[in-house]
Subunit: 185 residues, 2 copies
DNA sequence: CTACGATATGGGGCGTCCCTCCACTTTGCC
DNA sequence: GGCAAAGTGGAGGGACGCCCCATATCGTAG
């Protein structure tokens, strides 16, 4: 179940796959999620058909490019789970938002999109899982008000990080504003 | 000062200009802000060069397409100014957000972008003005906490409406979440 | 080590897009 | 009615995403 692959891919397939992901990571970091797919193929020394065969959509490529980053964020959520639930959730959300605003393309990779892959292996799915986890802990000690759908919170984070891509301080400010509200206390 | 035009445009210029804006409004409403400019020109019965001559960028076109919608929103802000400042601000922000999420392309038109036009005539500038107005009233009666930059609030609205384009209820939910915060009271 | 079938590749072609050039037409004024 | 200025549009350059299919490469079985 963790390895339902019927057959391991050929060596040249693996080589090209790795090259594509590596090059894509570099170019997305430089130019953002909208970088030309043809340029990625060119830079990787591969025909454009090969790129499209390996990744049926731009999103599928981004998904793999940011797999590690998201895994690290997920791990960080687990680490925070020891702390006070309110702080844990707020810290996690802020770190997530700032990371997504600092790392070009990451915000786009977090889109729910039309995922064919098993949900829990997508960037969006992993982040959602972590958020739900920390939210339920915070809810249990009444650190946050009930009735907030996790998906809304994630959409909010995604919206903010996409709007502030390239300006991490702004991302942090906007997230804190959204979490604190605007009311006078 | 309201009419610094040196020379009134020729009649065919005006005719084409109007046609372009009208057609663009229809196609943007149907396909979103990313609609093909060539298709707009084709549908309007003009060469693509004419479109580019009238509107140096996609944003400039959107700017004019949504001029009326934004003017109406601005007027609405003035109308709300009579009410209780807190309610006025919250109502305005929600109406703005929902409108931007309901009207395809409007969220994109609200981008600050690289505006060459006088700031107060752009969609972004008009909305900013209205928001600042209502915010300062709310601040005066301590209905909102101080230290929130108007631009942050506008960016937030813009981010939410772009992320929820086509789903107005979600837009409303996300905005209220962001204005109320997540804390338990 | 060789031969062979399955697997994978890539160049090139198609349709689309944005944008600009320039020969041409339309307009408005004398 | 004629003429300069203003405006037009179609063609074409450069780039892109995506797909087809003739070719090359890989892994294995003999």
């Amino acid at each position: 179940m963790t390895e339902p692959k019927v057959r391991p891919q050929r060596s040249d397939w693996q080589r090209n796959h790795k090259r594509l992901v590596t090059v894509a990571a570099a170019l997305v970091a430089r130019d953002g999620a909208q970088v030309s797919l043809e340029e990625i193929a060119r830079e990787a020394g591969v025909g454009s058909a090969t790129l499209h065969r390996h990744f049926p959509s731009r999103h599928a490529l981004l998904e793999e490019v940011f797999q590690d980053s998201v895994a690290h964020l997920r791990w960080r959520a687990g680490e925070l789970a020891d702390k006070d639930p309110r702080t844990a959730l707020l810290t996690w959300l802020e770190e997530l938002t700032v990371a997504a605003a600092s790392t070009r393309g990451l915000a786009a990779a977090l889109d729910a999109a039309d995922n064919t892959a098993p949900y829990s292996h997508t960037c969006h799915g992993i982040v959602r899982e972590a958020t739900e986890d920390l939210m339920s802990r915070a809810l249990r000690v009444a650190a946050i008000r009930p009735g907030v759908p996790p998906d809304d919170l994630i959409t909010l984070v995604q919206a903010i990080s996409q709007a502030t891509e390239g300006d991490p301080p702004a991302a942090g400010r906007l997230l804190r504003l959204a979490l604190e509200g605007i009311r006078h206390r």
